[in-house]
Amino acid sequence: MLTGLDIKKSFGSTEVLKDVNIQVKPGRISVLIGPSGSGKTTLIRALALLDFPDSGEIAFDGHTYKFPLNDNQVIEPPWPDLTVVFQQHFLWPHLTLRKNILLPLSKKTDSHHTVDDLIKIFQMEDFIDRYPNEVSIGQRQRAALARAFALEPKYILLDEITSALDVEQTGAVIRHLLTLRDQGIGLLVVTHLLAFARELVAKDEGDHIYFLDNGKILGSGGLEFFENPGSERAKQFISSMDYWTGNNKVS
């Protein structure tokens, strides 16, 4: 299990995360929703141990990392068992998309079959040998997803991964995420698309939604969260999102 306990993080005098508690269970999907600037990406970076929290605990499959670290304490983050797909993709520009996916797998001899499968699943055959600057944003996004999935991690944190995908591609991503969940992988999906969030958690009762606003978790729950968000702020956020998607369920 990947757990964040009482996570606090500030940049200068701005407190971005305020005692955030979150869990990502193996074989389950956790969805993190919230408005822009609420701290979603900061939370992902903290959970991935890319930016250490100011205080709190992060636990990963039996290893507990307590913050702040002691003087001279060095930690070994559990990458790539825990990996991240970033909204901005972060593909290496000097490598083709295929090489972007294959480079981290150079020591894994049995992963090429997985890569070929991923290329088919995300329909990348036509552009897989191009460089990142020669393809569209949506194609880059698919390559970034394939790079993370090919690593066969235990947990994947996905930050706004559908922002550049069309409906068909988003459908393919949802199907693949559900397959990964069924294989026992823990997923934390950050999104501002409620339809995408609903689609992900609708299939299994164990999945979970967290609503983050202004650095605090203001509500969480299963699929019922959409009907009964708890806090007024969460209700207001979901209502405004449903207004745009035409799914006006919250009164």
Binding site: L50, P80, W92, P93, H94, L103, N133, R140, L151
Partner: protein
């Protein structure tokens, strides 16, 4: 009427000597600039305070002084103040090498410091080791970005070797001037000189353009 080949034949020894001096000067400037400049650039990026800041200050000052003034100052007033006489070839080599070293170091330092952090982050979360990240990600990206501009810089430095003629270094331009004063065939002599530089510089400039178009990527898009 004498053709250029006849002039060349009459002064072949002088031209050969001039080309040799120019090539020697260029090799010293290029070699020291690339080797020492690269090392200085890496150290400036790594030790920002103790090496980076002094290096940047020197580069800033050097960039404000014309090469010719710097060369003359090192040849006349500096030697007069110090009470020494230094071989003009050595003076030109030191002055032009210094300029090249600091220009190269600044380019290397800038590319290292501006290296986009996201590529290192992606390498981390993909589980790449520090060594693999340096050799397979950082170095290839930085070299692709920096090599075209370094080649262009070396062409500029080759052109700058002509200034050495003004402090009596017997390089190719000075030889051409001397031969012209004897033969008075400026069209032949200076056209040949221009062609000689074109033959050397065009392939290097062409290589820089090819490398830039083939390998340099827009890092803001990925």
């Amino acid at each position: 009427m004498d053709t250029f080949l006849q002039i060349l034949n009459r002064h072949s020894e002088a031209f050969l000597k001039g080309i040799t001096v120019t090539v020697q000067l260029a090799l010293i400037i290029w070699g020291s600039g690339i080797v020492i400049g690269t090392l200085l650039g890496i150290l400036s990026a790594k030790y920002k305070r103790c090496i980076g800041i002094p290096t940047r200050i020197i580069t800033f000052i050097l960039s404000g002084i014309p090469v010719l003034v710097y060369l003359y100052w090192a040849h006349y007033p500096m030697q007069s103040i110090l009470g020494v006489v230094i071989n003009p070839f050595l003076t030109a080599a030191i002055v032009l090498s210094t300029i090249n070293i600091f220009s190269v170091s600044e380019q290397i330092r800038t590319h290292l410091i501006d290296f986009p952090e996201q590529y290192r982050i992606a390498a981390k979360v993909c589980g790449l080791s520090q060594k693999t990240t340096v050799y397979r990600i950082q170095l290839p990206i930085i070299l692709r970005q920096v090599i075209p501009s370094l080649l262009t810089q070396q062409v500029i430095m080759l052109h700058s070797t002509l200034f050495a003629s003004l402090i009596s270094v017997e390089e190719i331009f000075r030889v051409a001037q001397r031969v012209n004063s004897l033969e008075y065939k400026p069209i032949h002599i200076y056209t040949a000189l221009a062609l000689l530089f074109l033959i050397i510089c065009l392939p290097v400039n062409g290589l820089a353009i090819w490398l830039r178009e083939r390998f340099t990527r827009n890092l803001s898009e990925t």
